[in-house]
Every structure is written in structure tokens, then in C-alpha cells.
């Protein structure tokens, strides 16, 4: 039996709601798994899809995007932009062969520490069940150099 796989999840949180929800979970001593690494943005609308791709490519097994509930955005309607980007990104990720469970969108107000902790726990277990993403392995598949560079530009051909 090998060691249990511990998924690495990158969580993007909004300064005004979900980051505070995570804080509230902490101060309320509500536990959630340490597999998630939270990154605070000012708003879910700041989230470029490149952040998600970069996280997955860089070794994350999943990404959680969090923001204020629709209609409650500190910047009025930027979380609608996040929602639209996420919906389109999900389709692109499916074409990239990435399971839908690996990238999630969760709304959590500053009062919803328990809810956020539960979502994190659920996601960690879902990704654990899927296994590692290992994008470095995916990207290098078949691109190994069969011939060392030194050999193929070798001097063996007589001048």
C-alpha cells in the first residue's frame, strides 16, 4: 500500500466574501482539509482563466474559484463576469481532457464559513478519488527527444 494521494487544490478567493468566509471558518474552529492553498484576489472578476490554466499546468490537481453570490458583488456585477468566464472555461477544459470535478465555482458570503469549509472538503475528496492530474507528465507525453541534440548535429559527415 502506497501513501494516500493528497490532492493539491488552489483556491482563488474574493477579498470581500469568500476570503472572509475562510477566515470565519478558522475563527469558528471549523476544520477543512489543508489541501487547499488560498490566494486572495480583490474580486472573482479579477480571475483570468490563465490563472487556472497556470495552476493546473504547474502541478495543482484542482482549482476552486470562489466569489460573492450573484447580485452581491462588492463591485456590482463583476462576479457575473467570473460566472460567464467559468462556464466557457469549463467547456474548454473538457476539450483539454480535464475532468469537470477538478475546477469548481463556489459562491460563499462572508457569513458562510461552514458552507465554504464543506465545499472545500467535498472538493478535496472528489479530486482525491480522481487521482493526480500530473500535467507535467501529460505535456511531456511523446515529446521526449529520441535523439540527443549533440548526436544529430554531429561532425561525422566528412567535409
Amino acid at each position: 500500500m502506497t501513501e494516500q494521494f493528497e490532492p493539491l487544490i488552489i483556491g482563488f478567493t474574493c477579498n470581500w466574501c469568500s476570503y472572509r468566509a475562510a477566515d470565519l471558518a478558522g475563527t469558528s474552529r471549523k476544520q477543512y482539509p489543508p489541501n487547499i492553498r488560498l490566494i486572495r484576489l480583490m474580486c472573482s472578476g479579477r480571475l483570468s482563466p490563465e490563472f487556472v490554466l497556470k495552476a493546473l499546468q504547474g502541478g495543482a490537481d484542482g482549482v476552486m474559484i470562489t466569489g460573492c453570490h450573484p447580485g452581491e458583488c462588492h463591485y456590482l456585477e463583476q462576479n457575473f463576469k467570473a460566472l460567464r468566464r467559468f462556464a466557457l472555461l469549463k467547456r474548454v477544459l473538457a476539450q483539454m481532457g480535464i475532468e469537470p470535478e477538478r475546477v469548481r465555482l463556489v459562491w460563499a458570503s462572508a457569513a458562510e464559513g461552514v458552507h465554504l469549509a464543506q465545499e472545500i472538503t467535498d472538493m478535496v475528496e472528489a479530486v482525491r478519488a480522481l487521482g493526480p492530474l500530473d500535467w507535467a507528465g501529460v505535456a511531456s507525453n511523446g515529446s521526449a527527444h529520441a535523439i540527443p541534440a549533440a548526436e544529430i548535429v554531429g561532425e561525422e559527415v566528412s567535409a
Partner: protein, 344 residues
């Protein structure tokens, strides 16, 4: 080779369609100037040189080498290394060498699936024995060799250092000519070349800046494929619901496609500093969809949003049409059985 003191010009094609060669010839009568100024050292489409001739050149013999085509096979890679060694200035010429272009769309699938489509399932292919290309084949006369076909298409800069990049599918002739003039000025009059690593023969702003269509607010209720709509000749195509990569794409071509009613397909690549062309386009498209207003229920928003997105049949193939080999993910994850984990 005669030593007449002329600078040496090389052009090579790897995984490409030949359009880049035609683009060079499309500089018109200037091609005579190219011939007058340069000595051709390698140009498979126009002159009869062998790989062995190139191997016999001293290192750095070719003054400027335009390398077009992506890295799809071990032969492409071998020649990339060879030309890097033999060239003073190596230019990734065109979208394939720069970012994979159309050949790199096969990074959405596997080598096995590509072979299946090309050699087995193709309706115009007669291959009853199911013969597939092999790297080594035994014949009565001995062994025959073919280059290895890679699972993942790469950009030129993934395998060797590249001095300059000229984007475009293909690069526009007036841009090619401008670059060649700059090179000639550098070689003959000591003019300064752009800083190494630059993208040359292109603009530095988004394509929309050089597109003459009238732009106002972009609020889109659904998207149309080109055959579904006859676009207004004056108004921004994106505003009319046609996918146009203009907002995320580098200028330089003169907005040729939008000019004739076809949305920009993105062949000049991303803007300076952008790591992932497709993701930027995704952001631009998602921003203009007219769904999601305060007061709407979440279910309602999601339902409408999915309806709008259903009008974009192949988002990844559309947004990464030219840039897959240079994207953040570079390829799709394809399982052993040829299926994708995320596929519906």
C-alpha cells in the same frame, strides 16, 4: 559554393503547408532584389540543396535562416538543431514555427488517433492491410527509415533558441519585405537589428486598432457561424455575433479577414506579454455575453448562459486555432483508450 561575399539566405519548411514559401514569393519583383543581395544556401522549395550540403557548411555560415513549420517529427527537430548551428540569425517564420498553428491542433488528440484518421478511417484512403508508418521497415534490400512522428507538436522555440519571430499564417508579404530590408541594411550598412527575441514584421497593438469597422458597445445574445449570417459591411463583426479574435490578436496584417466579412482567426498570435492567446480570447468573449444581471435568478442565468455558449461549437479549437503549441497547457490529456476525462 562560390564565395562571392554575398550574405547567405536559408529558408526551411518543417511541419507546414507551403503557404509561407508562397508568401515570400508574394513579395513580387522584390524577390529579384533578394536574389541579388543574398546567396541561397538552403531553400527546398526553390533550390536544390541537400541536408548534407548544410552539414558541410561551417557553423554560422547562413546569415539569416527563415524557419517555417512546426516540430512534428524527429526530422523537423533534427533539422532545427542543424540550422540553429549553421545560422547566425534563426527566425521562427510564420505561425507554425512560432506557436504550432494548424498542425498543433492535433495536440487535442493522440498520435494514434491522428494515424487512424490519416491512414485508416479516411474515406479516400485504400489501406486494407492497415499499414501504418514505421520508423524502421525491413525490405529485401535492407532497412528503410522514417522519422519518428511525435505525439505532441512543438514550436521551434521549444527545441532551439530562436533569434526573431515573424508571426502570421502566412506572414504578410509587405511585412516580410520590410524585415528583409532591415536585415539587408544591417548586413550592408551596419544598421542595428532589433533586440534578440523580438517579434518582428508585426504591430504592437490589438488587431481591432487597425480594423476600420465601426465599434460601439459589445453586447452579444448569441454567436453565429460564418454560414449563418451575412454580416453588415460597416459594423464590428464581434458586435454582430461573429467570433472575431481581433481583441486578443496582434496587429500587422491590416485586418484582412474582417475587411471581407470573416472574423479574425488569430493567426498573428497573442499580444506582447500574453502567455495564453486562447485564454485571453475566452475572457474577451465571456465579457461580452449579455447574460447575468442583478435580479436574475442563478438558475435562469445558468440556463441562458449555456444556451449562448451552445452557439460556439468548438471553443478550444477556435480560441487555440493557431497557438496550441505555445499555450499554457500545450496539449489535451488523452487517456490510453483515446478518450478524454472531461469529454461529455
Amino acid at each position: 559554393m562560390s564565395e562571392n561575399g554575398k550574405p547567405k539566405f536559408g529558408m526551411y519548411w518543417a511541419a507546414s503547408c507551403g503557404g509561407c514559401e508562397i508568401a515570400v514569393l508574394n513579395i513580387g519583383e522584390h524577390i529579384l532584389d533578394v536574389d541579388a543581395v543574398f546567396d541561397i544556401a538552403l531553400w527546398p522549395v526553390a533550390a536544390d540543396f541537400k541536408y548534407e550540403d548544410v552539414r558541410n557548411y561551417p557553423d554560422g555560415y547562413i546569415d539569416i535562416c527563415l524557419f517555417n513549420g512546426a516540430i512534428r517529427t524527429s526530422e523537423n527537430e533534427e533539422i532545427a538543431h542543424l540550422l540553429r548551428k549553421k545560422s547566425k540569425v534563426l527566425v521562427a517564420f510564420g505561425s507554425c514555427a512560432y506557436e504550432g498553428c494548424i498542425p498543433a491542433l492535433s495536440n487535442f488528440t493522440s498520435k494514434e488517433a491522428t494515424f487512424k484518421a490519416a491512414y485508416l478511417d479516411n474515406p479516400s484512403t485504400d489501406n486494407p492491410d492497415g499499414v501504418l508508418p514505421q520508423t524502421v521497415t525491413e525490405v529485401p534490400e535492407g532497412e528503410l527509415y522514417l522519422p519518428e512522428f511525435y505525439n505532441t507538436v512543438k514550436a521551434l522555440s521549444d527545441v532551439v533558441e530562436v533569434d526573431y519571430t515573424i508571426p502570421g499564417c502566412p506572414p504578410e508579404p509587405h511585412q516580410i519585405w520590410a524585415v528583409l530590408q532591415a536585415v539587408v541594411a544591417a548586413l550592408t550598412q551596419g544598421a542595428e537589428l532589433p533586440p534578440p527575441g523580438s517579434i518582428i514584421g508585426a504591430g504592437n497593438v490589438a488587431l481591432c486598432e487597425e480594423c476600420e469597422r465601426v465599434k460601439s458597445e459589445k453586447i452579444i445574445e448569441r454567436f453565429y457561424r460564418p454560414y449563418e449570417i451575412t454580416p453588415d459591411p460597416e459594423i464590428c463583426l464581434l458586435e454582430q455575433g461573429m467570433i472575431c479574435m481581433g481583441p486578443a490578436t496582434r496587429s500587422g496584417c491590416g485586418a484582412l479577414c474582417p475587411k471581407v466579412g470573416m472574423g479574425c482567426r488569430g493567426c498573428y498570435g497573442p499580444l506582447e506579454g500574453v502567455e495564453d492567446h486562447g485564454a485571453r480570447m475566452l475572457t474577451a468573449i465571456a465579457s461580452v455575453i449579455d447574460v447575468g444581471k442583478p435580479g436574475e435568478s442563478e438558475d435562469e442565468i445558468n440556463r441562458k448562459l449555456e444556451e449562448v455558449l451552445d452557439t460556439i461549437p468548438d471553443p478550444a479549437g477556435t480560441f487555440y486555432r493557431f497557438s496550441m503549441a505555445r499555450s499554457i497547457l500545450k496539449r489535451a490529456k488523452v487517456n490510453g483508450d483515446g478518450h478524454k476525462g472531461g469529454a461529455q
